[in-house]
């Protein structure tokens, strides 16, 4: 190799050398049971059954992550059945359609659009402000409102949603996403089998935090799963007005019951909408 060759005058042979030198791991598979595991997965064997059949899986992070992803992708990837894109409505103006429009017309329409947008923004702001001030005194959760909580897990560098019935493992990092049809106040708790409660969100402050309405909005505070000998749950409370966290905790303590088979029962609260997801089950 000519070390004096300037990079700007790179010969093709040098590019070939670089291509040969691209670092890449030897991908020889180190799991002796990949084919059997694949066949078992294709037959619908659950991860728990797989761990019993192949003890190696219990210790192998790659196997665990792969099995999880295999099941997760079963209905997503590898299926060419995709819904066709919806046809545009007939009243949508086609941008590809060539029509002669005079500059004057464009100017008039642009100005009208700007004025309308400004007007709409102004009206929206006034409505939003009035909602902010009016909704505070309400004490009951609106009947039609819907709230949801989703948990995302980061394990061994992989991220995936925690579905109903799936459990976390020690060392997992958890992220939380809420969906709310109305702006409300929210608090997130970790509850264990001994009814110990830890506030996960908001970490700072002593009162619930206001959350905007929206779908799958990430909560900035996450959690790290530590070893535990009891069942665990994540409980999200949505309240229409700002509430003190200590009051919510004492309220929860009074209303939470841990039943048989690790069932967490929370008596409904008029002033809060509750979402519970179990994250650990100890038999």
């Amino acid at each position: 190799m000519d070390k004096k060759t300037p990079i700007a005058k790179l010969p093709v042979s040098r590019v070939e050398d670089l291509l040969r030198q691209r670092p890449f791991y030897d991908m020889a598979d180190d799991c002796p049971h990949t084919e059997e595991i694949a066949n078992a997965l294709a037959d619908g064997t659950t991860p728990a059954e797989l761990e019993k059949r192949f003890p190696h899986v219990q210790q192998c992070d790659i196997c665990k992550a792969s099995i999880h992803l295999f099941n997760q992708m079963a209905n997503e990837i590898g299926s060419p059945e995709q819904k066709p894109a919806p046809r545009p409505a007939k009243n949508v103006i086609s941008l590809s359609k060539r029509t002669r429009v005079s500059r004057r017309t464009v100017f008039v329409f642009s100005m009208a659009a700007v004025l309308l947008a400004g007007l709409a923004a102004g009206v929206g702001f006034v409505i939003w402000q009035s909602q902010q001030t009016q909704s505070q005194p309400d004490t009951l959760v609106p009947k039609g409102a819907s709230y949801d909580l989703e948990i995302a897990v980061s394990r061994n560098g992989l991220g995936f949603p925690l579905r109903e019935g799936e459990m976390v493992e020690t060392g997992d990092r958890l992220g939380f996403f809420y969906s709310a049809s109305e702006g409300s106040h929210m608090a997130l708790f970790h509850v264990d089998g001994q009814r110990q409660m830890t506030v996960l969100y908001p970490v700072e402050g002593k009162r619930t935090a206001f959350v905007q309405k929206g779908e799958r909005i990430r909560i900035r505070d996450g959690a790290l799963v530590t070893p535990s000998t009891t069942c665990e749950w994540i409980v999200a409370l949505f309240t229409p007005k700002e509430t003190s966290l200590s009051r919510l905790i004492s309220h929860l303590r009074r209303n939470v019951r841990v039943g048989e088979n690790c069932n967490l029962k929370i008596t409904d609260m008029d002033t809060a909408r509750i979402k519970v997801q179990q994250i650990r089950k100890i038999e």
């Binding site: 190799m1 070390k3 990079i7 700007a8 005058k9 790179l10 010969p11 093709v12 590019v15 070939e16 050398d17 670089l18 291509l19 040969r20 030198q21 691209r22 670092p23 890449f24 791991y25 030897d26 991908m27 598979d29 799991c31 990949t34 084919e35 059997e36 595991i37 694949a38 066949n39 997965l41 294709a42 790659i62 196997c63 992550a65 792969s66 992803l69 295999f70 992708m73 997503e76 990837i77 590898g78 299926s79 060419p80 059945e81 061994n156 560098g157 992989l158």
Partner: protein, 188 residues
């Protein structure tokens, strides 16, 4: 027989038998039919880019020339391929995320030693430049320079005559060279 809903990818016992015999038409058909599906799996884990195409290309190559001979259950070939793609992509992703240094013993250097500084500068740029090539061109480059296959062998796998593969490689190398030079000049 097939594990793909809708039935595009069908790896049955008959196909496996032909692959074991080294039937080049079947190899080509297998490559064409499975490449996109395997790449989709790898891209889901690694993101779309040269790494996903590398993993896909190496896996399909290994499957065609090694794993297919040892398959115990030909009917489960697609599941096996899918799980292998996930495993390899997960391992590559782990390596990328942890920034784990490469183990010299696990790498080979058929090109011999190069100037460390220049290589360190150029290799990341090479990855960016590779991403500009088509997936087929990237696979061809990979099979040529990683697996050491001849143009004829590559043609039997990815499809095309050895002349076509030769032209594709020449064009790809020219494009990579131009891209590397442009990036090197831009960065001084």
């Amino acid at each position: 027989m097939e594990h793909r809903k809708g039935g595009i990818l069908q790896i049955g016992a008959e196909m496996v038998a032909q692959l074991r015999q080294g039937n080049s038409d079947t190899r080509q058909r297998f490559w064409e039919e499975s490449f996109d599906a395997v790449l989709a799996i790898c891209s889901r884990i690694l993101g779309s880019g040269p790494q996903s195409i590398d993993v896909t290309t190496d896996l399909l190559n290994d499957f065609l020339f090694h794993y297919v001979q040892n398959l115990k259950n030909p009917h489960g070939a697609w599941s096996y391929l899918k799980l292998m793609a996930i495993r390899r992509a997960v391992r590559e992703r782990q390596r990328m995320m942890t920034g784990e240094p490469f183990d010299d013993q696990q790498m080979d250097y058929p090109g011999g030693e190069m100037d460390d500084v220049e290589t360190t500068v150029l290799l990341p740029k090479l990855n960016q430049c590779l991403a500009l090539l088509t997936p087929k061109a990237q696979s061809t480059v990979r099979l040529k320079y990683r697996q050491g296959m001849s143009n004829e062998q590559i043609g039997h796998v990815v499809g095309g005559s050895k002349q076509y593969i030769g032209r594709l490689l020449t064009q790809s190398l020219a494009a990579l060279r131009e891209c590397l030079q442009r990036k090197a000049v831009a960065n001084g």
